[in-house]
């Protein structure tokens, strides 16, 4: 059984399909990148999987069951820019929001929940920022707060929308370490990703998306020049990227 099964998923805005008949299998315990040009429907796919957008057709199964019955096993990291960082609250409070699903309606977070949130902040090296007002964070720090909020959910499947967007190299490093640690713990992580260069290094599975599914599967098999060209319509120079890749894949002695 797969961690996530998407079958015949179609999403349309006013009759115009933004996702067309998507089939996707995400195996357990993988890091999967979702790549594609702007407007390919990457964010829409994640939102449709999470039920934030109503699909025109198709179904989504998490561990063989519909998403709404598996809610507490799925964590979501939205794009950093999707919330108002001037909202009057602090870092610890935002991370504690990750536990609201487990708390259910009405029940309030208690000391034990704040302790869990602090623990998650420690994992992203943000413990000392717990009481900081969220408007005082840099982009990378905001991203790490969102990651901590997902970690505290202790889910089995993580969906992340561009967690590397606008973060510096050091933060990117520490985020990828975190994702690898999740994978080692048997979690499944699906990441909308923009930087094609780092796909082979960071991920073991990839979905190439442009309204339709172009290809998905292990990076070695589907992250090919031909598939990339189909996905991006020849709009960027992958030649250099793919050449670099094949050079990296070739053992020193053969060069």
């Amino acid at each position: 059984m797969n961690a996530v099964d998407v079958r015949d998923l179609t999403v349309a805005y006013h009759e115009k399909p933004v996702l067309w008949d998507i089939d996707l299998e995400v195996p357990h315990g993988v890091l999967m990148a979702v790549v594609g040009p702007n407007g390919a429907g990457k964010t829409t796919l994640i939102k449709a999987i999470l039920g934030l957008i109503k699909p025109a057709a198709g179904e989504v199964l998490v561990d063989g069951e519909p998403y709404h019955r598996q809610r507490d096993r799925v964590a979501y990291v939205p794009q950093r820019g999707s919330v108002d960082w001037d909202f009057p609250t602090n870092v610890l409070d935002v991370v504690t929001m990750g536990l609201y699903g487990r708390l259910g309606w009405i029940r309030r977070p208690k000391q034990e929940h704040r302790a869990l949130a602090l623990e998650a902040l420690r994992k992203v090296d943000m413990e000392s920022f717990a009481k900081r007002q969220i408007s005082q964070l840099s982009g990378g720090q905001q991203q790490r707060v969102f990651l901590a909020r997902a970690l505290v959910q202790d889910a089995d499947v993580y969906f992340m929308d561009e967690p590397f967007q606008g973060v510096d190299a050091v933060t990117e490093r520490s985020i990828i370490e975190l994702l690898r640690a999740l994978r080692s713990a048997g979690k499944t992580v699906v990441v909308v990703h923009h930087d094609l260069q780092t796909v082979p290094e960071y991920f073991d599975q990839v979905l190439l998306l442009n309204v339709r599914r172009i290809a998905s599967g292990p990076v070695d098999e589907v992250f090919t020049e031909e598939n990339l060209r189909t996905t991006y319509g020849g709009r960027i120079g992958f030649m250099s990227l793919v050449r670099e890749r094949s050079r990296a894949a070739t053992p020193e002695a053969e060069r």
Partner: protein
């Protein structure tokens, strides 16, 4: 104070507190103008409900208003969802139409009863004590007071019960939805509360003051705190302040109570904008000035440090030289030197400047930082 004066102030306080609670969420959700739209657009709902039940103080009027308020929200959202106009324009399109329909209905069919358009805009708080609620011969107080207390308590109970859910849905609707908290449902319940609060309040104080009390106090509170819970409390506090001081200003000027309360809200907001710690204009100005002086002192120490112990020191590190070298105005240079001496970064001996240890530390720290 006469009993009437006390009752008028109590009504004003009940209105202010009841308005401030949902108003704080309007501010946080960047929907302040929605209060304007709702408080006007509920009029046709009230009028139609009045035609149906034929009684001016029936609770059905509140139901009618709530439906009209929700219809306003739905209309505004569906017009802006077409992406043909932005949300602010959609608001500007919807509520004048609905309000005008209400006004026309009153003018055409209800001209002879007490449902006039002046009362709609400004209300009349001064008459509140004369319209009393009696149950079984027992006087429970002014009707407006009882109504607004009930609405205020309903708002408070709802917000206290669903505080966590409302906070999450307001900050991150996407996460709220993915966790199953139905942010859309919460949104419409909240808008329903805004509508009910608006109708209750505008009977007493008119639609202009409804907007002032829903937006002004929470806007002040938003500038003063980084904690949402405290913002709610402060919003109510500012509302009560405006209610009571507005009443006494009106008493003193012998003018409309609602008008004076709305004016006080504006004045209080101006004071908060000017004086709020951290975010206020005065504090921003002071911070900028402080940073300017600190930067100038830093530049001075760096300049002195660079020439320290070198042959040109006697030429470069003279007070009189700063003017041309750092391109500072003469009096500014004197001020900077004086501040640097006071702060213990520099000592002046016979027209020459020398760094202290602290000054040297500041200079090297500044260079490393850069």
């Amino acid at each position: 104070m006469t009993p009437e004066q006390i009752e008028i102030q109590l009504v004003a306080c009940a209105v202010a507190a009841a308005c401030a609670l949902p108003g704080a969420f309007l501010i946080l959700r960047k929907m302040a103008m929605m209060s304007d739209a709702i408080s006007h657009a509920i009029l046709p709902g009230i009028v139609v409900a009045f035609f149906l039940v034929g009684e001016l103080h029936s609770p059905w009027l509140i139901v009618g208003a709530a439906i009209a308020g929700l219809a306003t929200v739905v209309l505004v959202e569906s017009i802006s969802a077409t992406r043909l106009v932005k949300e602010d324009a959609a608001i500007g399109l919807v509520f004048p139409v609905l309000f005008s329909v209400g006004v026309l209905l009153i003018a055409r069919y209800a001209g002879d009863i007490h449902l006039d358009t002046d009362a709609v805009l400004t209300g009349e708080l001064a008459f509140a004590p004369f319209d009393r609620l009696t149950v079984g011969g027992v006087d429970l107080g002014p009707k407006a007071l009882v109504t607004m207390l009930a609405i205020g308590v309903a708002n408070l109970v709802f917000i206290l019960s669903f505080y966590k859910e409302l906070k999450l849905a307001t900050f991150d609707a996407g996460l709220a939805a993915s966790l199953g908290f139905m942010p859309a449902a919460l949104h419409y319940i909240l808008m329903g509360l805004v509508s009910v609060t608006a109708v209750g309040a505008f009977d007493a104080v008119g639609s202009i003051l409804v907007v002032a009390l829903m937006i002004g106090p929470p806007a002040c509170a938003y500038l003063l705190t980084d904690r949402m819970a405290l913002m709610m409390v402060l919003s109510v506090g500012f509302g009560l302040l405006a209610a009571i001081s507005g009443y006494w200003v009106a008493h003193w000027l012998d003018a409309s109570i609602a008008g004076c309360m709305a004016t006080v809200v504006g004045v209080v907001f101006l004071i908060v904008v000017a004086l709020a710690p951290d975010r206020g204009l005065v504090s921003i100005l002071r911070r900028q000035t402080r940073q300017r002086w600190a930067f100038a002192e830093k530049m001075l120490t760096i300049h002195l440090r660079q020439h320290e112990g070198l042959p040109e020191e006697s030429r470069e590190n003279r007070s009189a030289h700063l003017q041309e070298h750092l391109r500072w105005q003469a009096d500014f240079a004197v001020d900077v030197v004086q501040r640097a001496v006071e702060d213990g970064f520099v000592v002046e001996r016979g027209g020459f400047l020398f760094l202290t240890d602290a000054g040297r530390a500041l200079a090297s720290e500044a260079v490393v930082d850069a």
